[in-house]
């Protein structure tokens, strides 16, 4: 399993200052834009919020995985953001969120990257995996925790 095809260390943010859900989305989307993953920040974030309105992507344990399939996305990618402040997220366990995995998938996407995402999503159900991710302090450790599927 090669997470590096969808995760670039440049898309890992360790010290996000956002205090609100939508600000955090903007911050991560800016990172995507800078690294040429998406074409339009507002367009993409709107699609993420639209998805969020269906039901929350806060999966509990302080983790959320905001995501969207959007026409503003060029290639499948994920961004990881560790938040300096807990944010209110409407998670399924009602706990605040400290770690964000933002997922960008192009419209009509149908490729091998999706298989990696599927495996990653399944992995979130594993308690040890969640602990390792939450404990990881720097880019390398986060990358390492994700790499070992």
């Amino acid at each position: 399993m090669d997470i590096s095809s969808i995760l670039d260390k440049k898309n890992i943010m360790l010290d996000m200052q956002s205090k609100q859900k939508s600000d955090a989305f903007m911050e991560l989307a800016q990172c995507f834009k800078k690294n040429n993953i998406i074409t339009d920040i507002n367009g993409y974030v709107n699609d993420v919020l639209k998805r969020e309105a269906e039901f929350s992507t806060g999966i509990g344990y302080g983790i959320a995985i905001p995501h969207a399939k959007s026409k503003y996305v060029k290639t499948t990618a994920i961004a990881v953001g560790k938040l300096a402040h807990n944010i209110v997220y409407d998670s399924i366990d009602n706990e605040p969120v400290r770690l964000l995995f933002m997922i960008a998938v192009p419209e009509n996407s149908n490729d091998a990257h999706l298989k990696i995402l599927n495996k990653l999503a399944r992995k979130f159900m594993d308690e040890n995996f969640r602990k390792n991710i939450l404990a990881a302090k720097n880019e390398d450790l986060i990358f390492e925790a994700l790499r070992i599927f």
């Binding site: 039901f55 929350s56 999966i59 999706l114 995402l117 599927n118 999503a121 399944r122 159900m125």
Partner: protein, 457 residues
């Protein structure tokens, strides 16, 4: 305890898989076998009909509309997908206890629609899949017996060879003899499940013995299948003897009734048709070669082994004994082009055929060259209204060219393998041309009629 389920979320990226993982994992921990189909951007981990059949509980964790028609009559529990992510353990325990559970039933009109759209086609395909190995194995074994000489399989012929005789018995008598019964058993099984096999197979065997061919077998199979289904629904027994129902009572009744229908209702018009066609052919002059050729070709390819085919081949063989060798040559070429034309089409127009058909196409080369028309039957069963007219067109052209240009044959069988024997075929070049032309016509007709098909390579 076996549990199956479906998970699906609006984008199909994350929750679909988290819910599936959570349910499967908690199921394992609780000691149940759990398989969840993930309807994400792609559908994966697809539930087979057998798995659904065997499952005790169906869990639907979907935040979008999914087709539930497969779960007709199962114990189904529907839960919000985020609840499945969070509380999979609770959901499974509730399901096992039977909480929030209901038996899933389609709305009546949905049911009808479903039957119309997929029912008949699915039954035909199941029958074809049952039958295909018999056609291929049997056909190739018959071709093997030809290698010893065209008549080497016949104990009464001077060229009789004991190995050829065995090949002919295994392939020609038994494997080919079982072809229509197995087709019918497959169709009836698809309709009514295991209790349908007996009446379906008997109906197919009766179709063979009354000379009704594969079309008669199909009619019998549908009668057998739906009758079995009807009886299964209508007969109610006390619980203590319930197991007798599927094992004894329903097969006994449906086999008996279907059998009587086959013999007295289907058999009568078939015999009438055969007699009428024979009389018509016997009264017909043999002057106008091309027109009679067209007729011979169309009749040969119309029901492949049924009454129409039988009438024309019997007629042509009878003419041989009075020294007229043209019609039998036309029959043979018209019987070779259906498998050959289809084989050619599966090579030139791969995408218009299913993977199974492409495989069957390979054996059709040998079957066609050996004048084993039956090689075309699986194609005809699967898609009769496109395939049979194409076969008839090609065979008609082939037979018309053959008879029109005065080709003759001194042998009633043998296909391409008798062509090299000197003086067996009269006007050999035109005969080969007839064979090529007929095969090409069938190939392009079937490719044209199936032009909307687009299967993956």
């Amino acid at each position: 305890m076996k549990i199956v389920g479906v998970s699906a979320c609006p984008t199909g990226i994350a929750h679909t898989y988290m819910a599936a993982e959570a349910l499967e994992k908690c199921g394992r921990e609780l000691g149940y076998e759990v398989k969840i189909e993930t309807q994400g951007i792609e559908i994966e981990n697809i539930l087979t009909p057998q798995e659904i059949e065997e499952a005790d509980i169906v869990i639907i964790a979907c935040a979008k509309n999914v087709d539930l028609t497969r779960f007709e009559g199962k114990r189904v529990i529907e839960v919000p997908i985020d609840k499945a992510v969070k509380n999979a353990r609770q959901i499974i325990m509730d399901a096992v206890e039977g909480k929030n559970m209901s038996i899933f039933h389609l709305a009546e009109e949905e049911k009808e629609q479903k039957n119309q759209q997929t029912g008949v086609y699915k039954h035909l395909m199941t029958g074809v899949n049952f039958m295909l190995p018999f056609v291929i194995a049997g056909g190739i074994l018959i071709a093997c017996s030809f290698m010893f000489g065209i008549h080497a399989g016949d104990p009464n012929d001077p060229s009789y060879n004991i190995l050829a005789g065995a090949f002919n018995k295994i392939g020609g008598e038994v494997a080919f003899g079982l072809m229509v019964p197995v087709l019918a058993a497959g169709v009836a099984y698809s309709i009514a499940g295991k209790p349908g096999i007996c009446s379906g197979m008997v109906a197919g065997m009766l179709a063979k013995s009354i000379g009704a061919g594969f079309i008669g077998g199909l009619i019998g199979a549908f009668i057998a299948g739906y009758l079995t289904l009807f009886l299964l629904k209508q007969i109610h027994l006390p619980k203590s003897i319930q197991s007798l129902k599927g094992l004894i009572i329903v097969p006994l009744l449906s086999t008996c009734i279907t059998g009587f229908i086959m013999i007295f209702i289907i058999g009568t018009p078939v015999k009438f048709l055969l007699d009428a066609l024979s009389t018509f052919l016997n009264n017909m002059g043999t002057t106008n070669g091309i027109w009679i050729g067209l007729l011979i070709g169309m009749m040969m390819a119309s029901d492949m082994g049924g009454p129409i085919n039988k009438a024309i081949s019997t007629f042509s063989i009878a003419l041989m004994s009075s020294g007229v060798y043209g019609p039998i040559a036309a029959c043979m070429v018209a019987g070779m082009t259906p498998p050959l034309g289809l084989a050619l089409a599966t090579v030139l127009f791969k995408k218009r055929f299913t993977v199974e058909e492409r495989e069957a196409g390979k054996s059709c080369w040998i079957l066609g060259l050996s004048y084993i028309t039956e090689g075309a039957i699986p194609f005809a069963v699967a898609d009769p209204f496109r395939v049979i007219p194409s076969l008839m067109a090609g065979s008609a052209i082939a037979a018309a060219i053959s008879l029109g240009s005065g080709c003759t044959s001194l042998a009633p069988h043998g296909g391409i393998w008798i062509l090299p024997i000197p003086n067996v075929i009269g006007n050999l070049p035109m005969y080969v041309l007839a064979l090529l032309a007929g095969s090409i016509v069938t190939c392009f007709c079937v490719a044209f009629l199936k032009r909307k098909n687009n299967y993956e390579l």
